[in-house]
Protein backbone atom coordinates (compact mmCIF):
# COMPACT_ATOMS: atom_id res chain seq x y z
CA UNK A 1 0.00 0.00 0.00
CA UNK A 2 3.06 2.12 -0.10
CA UNK A 3 2.05 3.63 -3.46
CA UNK A 4 -1.10 5.16 -1.97
CA UNK A 5 0.81 7.00 0.69
CA UNK A 6 3.63 7.93 -1.62
CA UNK A 7 1.36 9.22 -4.34
CA UNK A 8 -0.63 11.34 -1.90
CA UNK A 9 2.51 12.92 -0.52
CA UNK A 10 3.96 13.36 -3.98
CA UNK A 11 0.76 14.98 -5.16
CA UNK A 12 0.90 17.58 -2.43
CA UNK A 13 4.57 18.07 -3.08
CA UNK A 14 3.80 18.72 -6.74
CA UNK A 15 1.24 21.35 -5.85
CA UNK A 16 3.93 23.24 -4.03
CA UNK A 17 6.53 22.60 -6.67
CA UNK A 18 4.20 24.53 -8.92
CA UNK A 19 5.15 27.70 -7.07
CA UNK A 20 8.71 27.34 -8.22
CA UNK A 21 9.88 29.71 -10.93
CA UNK A 22 10.76 27.08 -13.47
CA UNK A 23 8.08 24.78 -14.74
CA UNK A 24 10.63 22.58 -16.38
CA UNK A 25 11.16 20.50 -13.28
CA UNK A 26 7.51 19.42 -13.06
CA UNK A 27 7.49 16.82 -15.80
CA UNK A 28 10.61 14.93 -14.70
CA UNK A 29 9.50 15.18 -11.08
CA UNK A 30 6.12 13.67 -11.88
CA UNK A 31 7.69 10.91 -13.89
CA UNK A 32 10.09 10.20 -11.06
CA UNK A 33 7.24 10.11 -8.57
CA UNK A 34 5.25 7.66 -10.62
CA UNK A 35 8.31 5.53 -11.18
CA UNK A 36 8.98 5.42 -7.45
CA UNK A 37 5.40 4.46 -6.77
CA UNK A 38 5.67 1.80 -9.45
CA UNK A 39 8.69 0.31 -7.76
CA UNK A 40 7.09 0.62 -4.34
CA UNK A 41 3.99 -1.23 -5.46
CA UNK A 42 6.03 -4.42 -5.73
CA UNK A 43 7.11 -4.35 -2.10
CA UNK A 44 4.20 -6.55 -1.14
CA UNK A 45 4.74 -8.99 -3.97
CA UNK A 46 3.86 -12.53 -3.07
CA UNK A 47 2.16 -11.66 0.20
CA UNK A 48 -1.46 -11.11 1.01
CA UNK A 49 -1.59 -8.18 3.36
CA UNK A 50 -4.50 -6.25 4.78
CA UNK A 51 -3.92 -2.57 5.26
CA UNK A 52 -5.54 0.34 7.06
CA UNK A 53 -7.64 -1.61 9.52
CA UNK A 54 -8.57 -4.23 6.95
CA UNK A 55 -9.83 -1.67 4.49
CA UNK A 56 -7.50 -2.63 1.66
CA UNK A 57 -6.09 -5.95 0.58
CA UNK A 58 -2.91 -6.29 -1.38
CA UNK A 59 -2.58 -9.38 -3.55
CA UNK A 60 -0.49 -10.19 -6.55
CA UNK A 61 -3.51 -9.51 -8.71
CA UNK A 62 -4.04 -6.07 -7.24
CA UNK A 63 -0.35 -5.32 -7.61
CA UNK A 64 -0.50 -6.33 -11.25
CA UNK A 65 -3.41 -3.99 -11.90
CA UNK A 66 -1.67 -1.25 -9.93
CA UNK A 67 1.39 -1.70 -12.06
CA UNK A 68 -0.67 -1.42 -15.24
CA UNK A 69 -2.35 1.73 -14.02
CA UNK A 70 0.93 3.28 -13.00
CA UNK A 71 2.56 2.29 -16.25
CA UNK A 72 -0.27 3.86 -18.23
CA UNK A 73 -0.04 6.99 -16.13
CA UNK A 74 3.69 7.13 -16.66
CA UNK A 75 3.26 6.93 -20.40
CA UNK A 76 0.47 9.47 -20.51
CA UNK A 77 2.41 11.92 -18.37
CA UNK A 78 5.47 11.54 -20.53
CA UNK A 79 3.36 12.58 -23.52
CA UNK A 80 2.41 15.80 -21.77
CA UNK A 81 5.35 17.97 -22.72
CA UNK A 82 3.06 20.38 -24.54
CA UNK A 83 1.73 21.66 -21.22
CA UNK A 84 4.90 23.50 -20.64
CA UNK A 85 4.46 25.46 -23.84
CA UNK A 86 0.90 26.54 -23.16
CA UNK A 87 0.72 29.57 -20.85
CA UNK A 88 -2.85 29.25 -19.67
CA UNK A 89 -2.30 25.69 -18.50
CA UNK A 90 -1.42 24.89 -14.93
CA UNK A 91 0.82 21.86 -15.20
CA UNK A 92 1.53 21.49 -11.50
CA UNK A 93 -2.15 21.16 -10.75
CA UNK A 94 -2.77 18.78 -13.61
CA UNK A 95 0.03 16.51 -12.54
CA UNK A 96 -1.03 16.65 -8.91
CA UNK A 97 -4.59 15.77 -9.85
CA UNK A 98 -3.37 12.88 -11.92
CA UNK A 99 -1.37 11.56 -9.00
CA UNK A 100 -4.35 11.91 -6.70
CA UNK A 101 -6.56 10.15 -9.18
CA UNK A 102 -4.04 7.31 -9.23
CA UNK A 103 -4.54 7.00 -5.48
CA UNK A 104 -8.23 6.58 -6.18
CA UNK A 105 -7.53 4.01 -8.86
CA UNK A 106 -5.34 1.97 -6.55
CA UNK A 107 -8.02 2.08 -3.88
CA UNK A 108 -10.53 0.75 -6.39
CA UNK A 109 -8.13 -1.99 -7.35
CA UNK A 110 -7.34 -3.24 -3.88
CA UNK A 111 -10.41 -2.48 -1.79
CA UNK A 112 -11.55 -4.94 0.80
CA UNK A 113 -14.20 -2.71 2.24
CA UNK A 114 -16.89 -1.21 0.05
CA UNK A 115 -16.31 2.17 1.68
CA UNK A 116 -12.91 2.18 0.05
CA UNK A 117 -14.45 1.27 -3.27
CA UNK A 118 -16.72 4.28 -3.02
CA UNK A 119 -13.98 6.64 -1.90
CA UNK A 120 -11.68 5.36 -4.62
CA UNK A 121 -14.31 5.76 -7.32
CA UNK A 122 -15.02 9.27 -6.19
CA UNK A 123 -11.41 10.35 -5.95
CA UNK A 124 -10.87 9.10 -9.46
CA UNK A 125 -14.08 10.58 -10.84
CA UNK A 126 -13.81 14.00 -9.27
CA UNK A 127 -10.26 14.25 -10.54
CA UNK A 128 -11.48 13.32 -14.00
CA UNK A 129 -14.25 15.93 -13.93
CA UNK A 130 -11.62 18.57 -13.29
CA UNK A 131 -9.23 17.31 -15.95
CA UNK A 132 -12.02 17.04 -18.52
CA UNK A 133 -12.88 20.68 -18.01
CA UNK A 134 -9.31 21.83 -17.78
CA UNK A 135 -9.42 23.58 -21.12
CA UNK A 136 -11.40 26.40 -19.59
CA UNK A 137 -11.90 28.61 -22.60
CA UNK A 138 -12.98 25.78 -24.84
CA UNK A 139 -16.72 25.35 -24.89
CA UNK A 140 -16.46 21.71 -25.90
CA UNK A 141 -14.28 20.98 -22.94
CA UNK A 142 -16.75 22.81 -20.69
CA UNK A 143 -19.66 20.90 -22.06
CA UNK A 144 -17.84 17.61 -21.69
CA UNK A 145 -16.99 18.42 -18.09
CA UNK A 146 -20.56 19.28 -17.20
CA UNK A 147 -21.91 16.18 -18.90
CA UNK A 148 -19.39 13.98 -17.22
CA UNK A 149 -19.95 15.61 -13.89
CA UNK A 150 -23.74 15.49 -13.86
CA UNK A 151 -23.99 11.97 -15.20
CA UNK A 152 -21.10 10.78 -13.10
CA UNK A 153 -22.62 12.06 -9.89
CA UNK A 154 -25.91 10.56 -10.90
CA UNK A 155 -24.23 7.20 -11.37
CA UNK A 156 -22.50 7.64 -8.04
CA UNK A 157 -25.85 8.18 -6.42
CA UNK A 158 -27.16 4.96 -7.90
CA UNK A 159 -24.08 3.08 -6.84
CA UNK A 160 -24.41 4.42 -3.31
CA UNK A 161 -28.00 3.33 -3.06
CA UNK A 162 -26.87 -0.12 -4.05
CA UNK A 163 -24.16 -0.07 -1.42
CA UNK A 164 -26.66 0.99 1.20
CA UNK A 165 -28.99 -1.85 0.27
CA UNK A 166 -26.15 -4.35 0.41
CA UNK A 167 -25.24 -3.06 3.79
CA UNK A 168 -28.83 -3.26 4.89
CA UNK A 169 -29.18 -6.86 3.90
CA UNK A 170 -25.81 -8.21 4.94
CA UNK A 171 -24.87 -5.85 7.73
CA UNK A 172 -21.35 -5.29 6.52
CA UNK A 173 -19.26 -3.54 3.92
CA UNK A 174 -16.46 -6.06 4.09
CA UNK A 175 -16.05 -8.25 1.03
CA UNK A 176 -15.31 -11.44 2.93
CA UNK A 177 -18.40 -10.92 5.07
CA UNK A 178 -20.46 -10.37 1.98
CA UNK A 179 -19.00 -13.51 0.51
CA UNK A 180 -19.93 -15.63 3.49
CA UNK A 181 -23.32 -13.99 3.56
CA UNK A 182 -23.94 -14.77 -0.08
CA UNK A 183 -22.53 -18.26 0.14
CA UNK A 184 -24.26 -19.12 3.37
CA UNK A 185 -27.60 -18.77 1.73
CA UNK A 186 -29.65 -15.80 2.66
CA UNK A 187 -29.58 -16.15 6.43
CA UNK A 188 -31.43 -13.04 7.33
CA UNK A 189 -32.50 -9.93 5.56
CA UNK A 190 -34.11 -10.10 2.19
CA UNK A 191 -32.68 -11.54 -1.01
CA UNK A 192 -34.52 -8.86 -2.91
CA UNK A 193 -32.44 -6.21 -1.20
CA UNK A 194 -29.29 -8.16 -1.95
CA UNK A 195 -30.16 -8.47 -5.63
CA UNK A 196 -31.26 -4.87 -5.96
CA UNK A 197 -28.21 -3.71 -4.10
CA UNK A 198 -25.84 -5.67 -6.28
CA UNK A 199 -27.64 -4.57 -9.42
CA UNK A 200 -27.43 -0.89 -8.53
CA UNK A 201 -23.81 -1.21 -7.49
CA UNK A 202 -23.01 -2.93 -10.78
CA UNK A 203 -24.77 -0.23 -12.73
CA UNK A 204 -22.69 2.40 -10.97
CA UNK A 205 -19.41 0.74 -11.84
CA UNK A 206 -20.54 -0.24 -15.33
CA UNK A 207 -21.16 3.43 -15.90
CA UNK A 208 -17.59 4.21 -14.91
CA UNK A 209 -16.16 1.62 -17.28
CA UNK A 210 -18.58 2.85 -19.96
CA UNK A 211 -20.50 -0.30 -20.71
CA UNK A 212 -23.65 0.11 -22.76
CA UNK A 213 -26.38 1.15 -22.10
CA UNK A 214 -24.61 3.32 -19.52
CA UNK A 215 -22.00 4.51 -21.97
CA UNK A 216 -23.64 7.61 -23.39
CA UNK A 217 -21.31 10.01 -21.68
CA UNK A 218 -18.20 8.38 -23.09
CA UNK A 219 -18.07 9.61 -26.69
CA UNK A 220 -19.00 13.17 -25.80
CA UNK A 221 -16.63 13.38 -22.88
CA UNK A 222 -13.75 11.73 -24.69
CA UNK A 223 -14.22 14.03 -27.61
CA UNK A 224 -14.50 17.19 -25.58
CA UNK A 225 -11.73 16.53 -23.11
CA UNK A 226 -8.16 17.50 -23.96
CA UNK A 227 -6.64 14.55 -25.82
CA UNK A 228 -4.07 13.81 -23.17
CA UNK A 229 -6.68 13.39 -20.51
CA UNK A 230 -8.80 11.33 -22.83
CA UNK A 231 -5.88 8.94 -23.03
CA UNK A 232 -5.63 8.96 -19.26
CA UNK A 233 -9.33 8.34 -18.79
CA UNK A 234 -9.62 5.61 -21.34
CA UNK A 235 -6.82 3.62 -19.77
CA UNK A 236 -6.56 4.28 -16.05
CA UNK A 237 -10.24 4.59 -15.28
CA UNK A 238 -11.11 1.55 -17.32
CA UNK A 239 -8.43 -0.65 -15.82
CA UNK A 240 -9.32 0.38 -12.29
CA UNK A 241 -13.03 -0.09 -12.93
CA UNK A 242 -12.53 -3.59 -14.25
CA UNK A 243 -10.23 -4.50 -11.41
CA UNK A 244 -12.97 -3.40 -9.02
CA UNK A 245 -15.64 -5.36 -10.89
CA UNK A 246 -13.42 -8.41 -10.94
CA UNK A 247 -12.78 -8.20 -7.23
CA UNK A 248 -16.46 -7.81 -6.46
CA UNK A 249 -17.79 -10.47 -8.74
CA UNK A 250 -15.10 -13.10 -8.57
CA UNK A 251 -14.74 -12.94 -4.82
CA UNK A 252 -17.93 -11.89 -3.09
CA UNK A 253 -20.75 -12.63 -5.44
CA UNK A 254 -19.80 -15.85 -7.20
CA UNK A 255 -22.53 -17.50 -5.15
CA UNK A 256 -25.26 -15.69 -7.03
CA UNK A 257 -23.76 -15.95 -10.50
CA UNK A 258 -27.12 -17.04 -11.80
CA UNK A 259 -28.41 -13.60 -10.89
CA UNK A 260 -25.78 -11.31 -12.33
CA UNK A 261 -24.34 -13.54 -15.01
CA UNK A 262 -27.22 -13.06 -17.39
CA UNK A 263 -27.39 -9.33 -16.75
CA UNK A 264 -23.73 -9.01 -17.53
CA UNK A 265 -24.16 -11.07 -20.67
CA UNK A 266 -26.90 -8.79 -21.89
CA UNK A 267 -24.79 -5.75 -21.11
CA UNK A 268 -21.84 -7.33 -22.89
CA UNK A 269 -23.77 -8.02 -26.04
CA UNK A 270 -25.32 -4.57 -26.12
CA UNK A 271 -21.95 -2.98 -25.49
CA UNK A 272 -20.24 -4.91 -28.25
CA UNK A 273 -22.92 -4.36 -30.82
CA UNK A 274 -23.65 -0.71 -30.14
CA UNK A 275 -20.04 0.39 -29.87
CA UNK A 276 -18.72 -1.44 -32.89
CA UNK A 277 -21.58 -0.45 -35.12
CA UNK A 278 -21.55 3.16 -34.09
CA UNK A 279 -17.81 3.45 -34.44
CA UNK A 280 -18.09 2.60 -38.12
CA UNK A 281 -19.84 5.84 -38.91
CA UNK A 282 -17.57 8.20 -37.05
CA UNK A 283 -15.47 10.66 -38.94
CA UNK A 284 -13.54 11.90 -35.94
CA UNK A 285 -10.65 9.72 -34.92
CA UNK A 286 -10.96 10.75 -31.33
CA UNK A 287 -14.61 9.87 -31.22
CA UNK A 288 -13.87 6.57 -32.90
CA UNK A 289 -11.38 5.88 -30.15
CA UNK A 290 -14.11 6.59 -27.62
CA UNK A 291 -16.32 3.95 -29.21
CA UNK A 292 -13.34 1.67 -29.47
CA UNK A 293 -12.84 2.09 -25.75
CA UNK A 294 -16.46 1.15 -25.19
CA UNK A 295 -16.06 -1.91 -27.36
CA UNK A 296 -13.01 -2.99 -25.42
CA UNK A 297 -15.04 -2.66 -22.27
CA UNK A 298 -17.33 -5.17 -23.97
CA UNK A 299 -14.50 -7.64 -24.57
CA UNK A 300 -13.32 -7.22 -21.01
CA UNK A 301 -16.85 -7.86 -19.81
CA UNK A 302 -16.75 -11.22 -21.55
CA UNK A 303 -14.00 -12.31 -19.20
CA UNK A 304 -16.11 -11.15 -16.27
CA UNK A 305 -19.18 -12.88 -17.57
CA UNK A 306 -17.27 -16.12 -17.73
CA UNK A 307 -15.62 -15.44 -14.42
CA UNK A 308 -13.06 -17.99 -13.30
CA UNK A 309 -9.41 -18.37 -12.51
CA UNK A 310 -8.48 -17.67 -16.08
CA UNK A 311 -10.46 -14.45 -16.22
CA UNK A 312 -8.03 -12.76 -13.88
CA UNK A 313 -5.05 -13.32 -16.09
CA UNK A 314 -7.09 -12.55 -19.15
CA UNK A 315 -8.21 -9.24 -17.67
CA UNK A 316 -4.70 -8.28 -16.61
CA UNK A 317 -3.30 -9.08 -20.00
CA UNK A 318 -6.10 -7.45 -21.91
CA UNK A 319 -5.95 -4.28 -19.82
CA UNK A 320 -2.24 -4.01 -20.39
CA UNK A 321 -2.45 -4.64 -24.11
CA UNK A 322 -5.35 -2.24 -24.49
CA UNK A 323 -3.76 0.51 -22.41
CA UNK A 324 -0.46 0.43 -24.20
CA UNK A 325 -2.00 0.46 -27.66
CA UNK A 326 -4.50 3.18 -26.77
CA UNK A 327 -1.84 5.45 -25.36
CA UNK A 328 0.33 4.95 -28.42
CA UNK A 329 -2.60 5.86 -30.66
CA UNK A 330 -3.48 8.95 -28.68
CA UNK A 331 0.18 9.86 -28.55
CA UNK A 332 0.36 9.95 -32.33
CA UNK A 333 -2.91 11.89 -32.51
CA UNK A 334 -1.49 14.45 -30.08
CA UNK A 335 1.62 15.03 -32.15
CA UNK A 336 -0.29 15.24 -35.37
CA UNK A 337 -2.92 17.66 -34.13
CA UNK A 338 -0.36 19.81 -32.39
CA UNK A 339 1.69 19.89 -35.53
CA UNK A 340 -1.33 21.10 -37.45
CA UNK A 341 -2.16 23.86 -35.03
CA UNK A 342 1.52 24.75 -35.09
CA UNK A 343 1.21 25.20 -38.84
CA UNK A 344 -1.75 27.47 -38.36
CA UNK A 345 -4.28 24.93 -39.59
CA UNK A 346 -7.38 24.34 -37.51
CA UNK A 347 -6.99 21.40 -35.22
CA UNK A 348 -8.44 18.42 -36.94
CA UNK A 349 -9.07 15.22 -35.10
CA UNK A 350 -10.79 13.41 -37.92
CA UNK A 351 -9.34 10.60 -39.97
CA UNK A 352 -8.30 13.15 -42.55
CA UNK A 353 -5.69 14.43 -40.16
CA UNK A 354 -3.76 11.24 -40.84
CA UNK A 355 -3.90 11.42 -44.62
CA UNK A 356 -0.54 10.64 -46.06
CA UNK A 357 1.10 10.71 -42.66
CA UNK A 358 3.29 7.71 -43.25
CA UNK A 359 4.95 9.17 -46.32
CA UNK A 360 6.93 11.75 -44.44
CA UNK A 361 6.74 10.21 -41.00
CA UNK A 362 7.30 6.49 -41.35
CA UNK A 363 7.95 6.07 -37.64
CA UNK A 364 4.68 7.67 -36.56
CA UNK A 365 2.89 5.68 -39.21
CA UNK A 366 4.39 2.47 -37.97
CA UNK A 367 3.57 3.21 -34.34
CA UNK A 368 -0.01 3.99 -35.22
CA UNK A 369 -0.27 0.90 -37.40
CA UNK A 370 0.93 -1.39 -34.65
CA UNK A 371 -1.45 0.26 -32.19
CA UNK A 372 -4.39 -0.20 -34.54
CA UNK A 373 -3.44 -3.80 -35.32
CA UNK A 374 -3.23 -4.51 -31.62
CA UNK A 375 -6.60 -2.92 -30.93
CA UNK A 376 -8.08 -4.88 -33.80
CA UNK A 377 -6.57 -8.07 -32.42
CA UNK A 378 -4.33 -9.10 -35.30
CA UNK A 379 -1.85 -11.86 -34.42
CA UNK A 380 1.63 -11.15 -33.21
CA UNK A 381 0.43 -8.09 -31.37
CA UNK A 382 -0.50 -8.02 -27.72
CA UNK A 383 -4.13 -7.33 -28.56
CA UNK A 384 -4.48 -10.68 -30.27
CA UNK A 385 -3.55 -12.61 -27.16
CA UNK A 386 -5.74 -10.39 -25.05
CA UNK A 387 -8.73 -11.24 -27.21
CA UNK A 388 -7.68 -14.85 -27.45
CA UNK A 389 -7.48 -15.26 -23.70
CA UNK A 390 -10.75 -13.47 -23.14
CA UNK A 391 -12.47 -15.58 -25.76
CA UNK A 392 -11.04 -18.73 -24.25
CA UNK A 393 -12.63 -17.91 -20.91
CA UNK A 394 -15.98 -17.71 -22.64
CA UNK A 395 -15.31 -20.93 -24.54
CA UNK A 396 -14.39 -22.63 -21.28
CA UNK A 397 -17.69 -21.63 -19.78
CA UNK A 398 -19.40 -22.87 -22.90
CA UNK A 399 -20.98 -19.51 -23.68
CA UNK A 400 -20.63 -19.97 -27.38
CA UNK A 401 -23.26 -17.61 -28.62
CA UNK A 402 -21.54 -14.77 -26.83
CA UNK A 403 -18.30 -15.82 -28.43
CA UNK A 404 -19.87 -15.73 -31.86
CA UNK A 405 -21.15 -12.21 -31.28
CA UNK A 406 -17.78 -11.08 -29.99
CA UNK A 407 -15.89 -12.58 -32.90
CA UNK A 408 -18.28 -11.05 -35.43
CA UNK A 409 -18.00 -7.66 -33.80
CA UNK A 410 -14.25 -7.85 -33.81
CA UNK A 411 -14.53 -8.32 -37.55
CA UNK A 412 -16.57 -5.14 -37.78
CA UNK A 413 -13.92 -3.35 -35.77
CA UNK A 414 -11.36 -4.07 -38.47
CA UNK A 415 -13.20 -1.63 -40.64
CA UNK A 416 -12.70 1.41 -38.52
CA UNK A 417 -9.23 0.55 -37.27
CA UNK A 418 -7.97 -0.03 -40.77
CA UNK A 419 -9.40 3.26 -41.93
CA UNK A 420 -6.61 4.95 -40.07
CA UNK A 421 -3.99 2.75 -41.64
CA UNK A 422 -5.45 3.32 -45.07
CA UNK A 423 -5.52 7.05 -44.49
CA UNK A 424 -1.91 7.06 -43.39
CA UNK A 425 -0.49 4.93 -46.14
CA UNK A 426 -2.81 5.17 -49.08
CA UNK A 427 -4.33 8.61 -49.10
CA UNK A 428 -2.70 11.77 -50.20
CA UNK A 429 -2.17 14.51 -47.71
CA UNK A 430 0.01 17.50 -47.21
CA UNK A 431 1.48 16.36 -43.94
CA UNK A 432 5.06 17.49 -43.70
CA UNK A 433 7.70 15.85 -41.57
CA UNK A 434 6.80 16.22 -37.92
CA UNK A 435 9.45 16.88 -35.36
CA UNK A 436 8.93 14.70 -32.32
CA UNK A 437 10.79 15.35 -29.11
CA UNK A 438 13.24 12.53 -28.36
CA UNK A 439 11.74 11.48 -25.07
CA UNK A 440 8.25 11.50 -26.52
CA UNK A 441 9.49 9.36 -29.36
CA UNK A 442 11.14 6.89 -27.02
CA UNK A 443 7.94 6.44 -25.08
CA UNK A 444 5.96 5.78 -28.24
CA UNK A 445 8.60 3.37 -29.49
CA UNK A 446 8.63 1.62 -26.14
CA UNK A 447 4.86 1.22 -26.30
CA UNK A 448 5.14 -0.23 -29.78
CA UNK A 449 7.90 -2.62 -28.80
CA UNK A 450 5.93 -3.70 -25.76
CA UNK A 451 2.93 -4.40 -27.96
CA UNK A 452 4.95 -6.53 -30.33
CA UNK A 453 6.95 -8.32 -27.64
CA UNK A 454 3.79 -9.21 -25.77
CA UNK A 455 2.38 -10.40 -29.05
CA UNK A 456 5.27 -12.78 -29.52
CA UNK A 457 5.92 -13.75 -25.92
CA UNK A 458 2.64 -13.39 -24.08
CA UNK A 459 3.87 -15.49 -21.23
CA UNK A 460 6.02 -12.62 -20.02
CA UNK A 461 3.01 -11.13 -18.31
CA UNK A 462 1.76 -14.37 -17.02
CA UNK A 463 5.03 -14.99 -15.26
CA UNK A 464 4.35 -11.72 -13.46
CA UNK A 465 0.82 -12.46 -12.31
Amino acid sequence: MLPIILLSVFGIALLFLGFAKSKAILLPATLLFIAIAFGASFVDWGKNYMYFNDMLLSTNLSIAFTAIVLLSAFMVVSLSSSFLEDESAQPAEYYAIMLFSLVGAIMMISFENLIMLFVGVEILSVAMYVLTGSDKRNLRSNEAALKYFLMGSFATGIMLFGLALLYGTSGSFVLSDLRSYVNGGVAYGSPLLLYMGLLLLLVGILFKVSAAPFHFWTPDVYEGAPTLFTAFMSTVVKTAGFAALLRLLSFSFTGIYSFWGVILMAVTVITLVVSNFTAVYQSSFKRMMAYSSISHAGYLLIALTAVGQQSKQALVFYSLAYSVATIAAFGVLLVVSRHQSGEGKPTDESYDAFNGLARQNPLLGFIMTVAMLSLAGIPLTAGFWGKFMVFTTAANRGIFWLLVVAVLMSAVSIYYYFRVIIAMYLRDGQTTAIRVAPFYRYVLIAATILTIVLGILPNLVRSLV
Binding site: L146, T156, S172, D220
Partner: protein, 114 residues
Amino acid sequence: MQPTQQVLIPEVIQQIPLNYYLIFSTALFVIGIIGVLTRRNAIIIFMSIELMLNAVNMLLIAFSSYKSDPTGQVFVFFIMAVAAAEVAVGLAIIVMIYRNTRSIDIGALNKLKW
Protein backbone atom coordinates in the same frame (compact mmCIF):
# COMPACT_ATOMS: atom_id res chain seq x y z
CA MET B 1 -23.87 -8.42 16.92
CA GLN B 2 -22.11 -7.64 20.13
CA PRO B 3 -24.13 -6.65 23.11
CA THR B 4 -21.87 -3.75 23.96
CA GLN B 5 -22.80 -2.05 20.74
CA GLN B 6 -26.43 -2.60 21.30
CA VAL B 7 -26.19 -0.32 24.28
CA LEU B 8 -24.85 2.46 22.12
CA ILE B 9 -27.94 2.59 19.98
CA PRO B 10 -31.02 3.70 21.88
CA GLU B 11 -33.76 1.16 21.53
CA VAL B 12 -36.34 3.81 21.08
CA ILE B 13 -35.11 4.41 17.57
CA GLN B 14 -36.08 0.96 16.57
CA GLN B 15 -39.68 1.66 17.28
CA ILE B 16 -40.36 2.87 13.78
CA PRO B 17 -40.28 -0.20 11.53
CA LEU B 18 -37.24 -0.42 9.27
CA ASN B 19 -39.43 -0.76 6.23
CA TYR B 20 -40.72 2.74 6.73
CA TYR B 21 -37.21 4.06 6.44
CA LEU B 22 -36.61 1.94 3.44
CA ILE B 23 -39.69 3.17 1.68
CA PHE B 24 -39.08 6.73 2.71
CA SER B 25 -35.51 6.70 1.45
CA THR B 26 -36.48 5.03 -1.76
CA ALA B 27 -39.15 7.63 -2.32
CA LEU B 28 -36.68 10.40 -1.69
CA PHE B 29 -34.22 8.74 -4.02
CA VAL B 30 -36.77 8.39 -6.77
CA ILE B 31 -37.79 12.01 -6.33
CA GLY B 32 -34.15 12.87 -6.86
CA ILE B 33 -34.02 10.78 -10.03
CA ILE B 34 -37.16 12.41 -11.33
CA GLY B 35 -35.65 15.79 -10.59
CA VAL B 36 -32.60 14.90 -12.63
CA LEU B 37 -34.78 13.71 -15.46
CA THR B 38 -37.16 16.63 -15.63
CA ARG B 39 -35.12 19.72 -14.84
CA ARG B 40 -33.00 21.62 -17.31
CA ASN B 41 -31.18 23.90 -14.95
CA ALA B 42 -27.78 22.45 -14.09
CA ILE B 43 -27.92 23.68 -10.50
CA ILE B 44 -31.29 22.12 -9.88
CA ILE B 45 -30.19 18.86 -11.42
CA PHE B 46 -27.24 18.96 -9.14
CA MET B 47 -29.48 19.59 -6.17
CA SER B 48 -31.57 16.62 -7.16
CA ILE B 49 -28.45 14.50 -7.16
CA GLU B 50 -27.66 15.76 -3.70
CA LEU B 51 -31.13 14.72 -2.72
CA MET B 52 -30.36 11.24 -3.95
CA LEU B 53 -27.21 11.16 -1.87
CA ASN B 54 -29.10 12.29 1.18
CA ALA B 55 -31.67 9.59 0.65
CA VAL B 56 -28.79 7.13 0.75
CA ASN B 57 -27.48 8.74 3.93
CA MET B 58 -30.87 8.40 5.51
CA LEU B 59 -31.05 4.75 4.58
CA LEU B 60 -27.58 4.01 5.83
CA ILE B 61 -28.25 5.58 9.17
CA ALA B 62 -31.47 3.65 9.53
CA PHE B 63 -29.73 0.36 8.74
CA SER B 64 -26.89 1.29 11.00
CA SER B 65 -29.23 1.93 13.89
CA TYR B 66 -31.15 -1.25 13.39
CA LYS B 67 -28.08 -3.36 13.15
CA SER B 68 -26.43 -1.53 16.01
CA ASP B 69 -23.39 -1.27 13.83
CA PRO B 70 -21.59 2.06 13.53
CA THR B 71 -19.96 1.32 10.15
CA GLY B 72 -22.97 2.64 8.32
CA GLN B 73 -22.69 5.96 10.04
CA VAL B 74 -19.01 6.16 9.30
CA PHE B 75 -19.89 5.63 5.67
CA VAL B 76 -22.27 8.55 5.91
CA PHE B 77 -19.43 10.77 6.98
CA PHE B 78 -17.46 9.71 3.98
CA ILE B 79 -20.39 10.35 1.71
CA MET B 80 -20.82 13.82 3.12
CA ALA B 81 -17.16 14.66 2.75
CA VAL B 82 -17.02 13.34 -0.76
CA ALA B 83 -20.26 15.11 -1.63
CA ALA B 84 -18.66 18.34 -0.47
CA ALA B 85 -15.79 17.74 -2.82
CA GLU B 86 -18.23 17.05 -5.59
CA VAL B 87 -20.10 20.23 -4.81
CA ALA B 88 -16.89 22.18 -5.01
CA VAL B 89 -15.93 20.76 -8.37
CA GLY B 90 -19.47 20.82 -9.68
CA LEU B 91 -20.04 24.43 -8.79
CA ALA B 92 -16.71 25.34 -10.30
CA ILE B 93 -17.71 23.65 -13.55
CA ILE B 94 -21.10 25.30 -13.57
CA VAL B 95 -19.60 28.72 -12.89
CA MET B 96 -17.11 28.15 -15.67
CA ILE B 97 -19.89 27.30 -18.07
CA TYR B 98 -21.94 30.25 -16.97
CA ARG B 99 -19.03 32.57 -17.59
CA ASN B 100 -18.55 31.20 -21.06
CA THR B 101 -22.13 30.85 -22.23
CA ARG B 102 -24.19 33.03 -19.87
CA SER B 103 -26.49 30.11 -19.30
CA ILE B 104 -26.68 27.00 -17.21
CA ASP B 105 -29.45 25.42 -19.20
CA ILE B 106 -28.31 21.93 -20.09
CA GLY B 107 -30.56 21.99 -23.13
CA ALA B 108 -28.18 24.40 -24.79
CA LEU B 109 -25.24 22.13 -24.25
CA ASN B 110 -25.35 19.66 -27.07
CA LYS B 111 -22.50 20.63 -29.32
CA LEU B 112 -20.92 17.24 -28.70
CA LYS B 113 -22.99 14.56 -30.29
CA TRP B 114 -23.14 11.80 -32.88
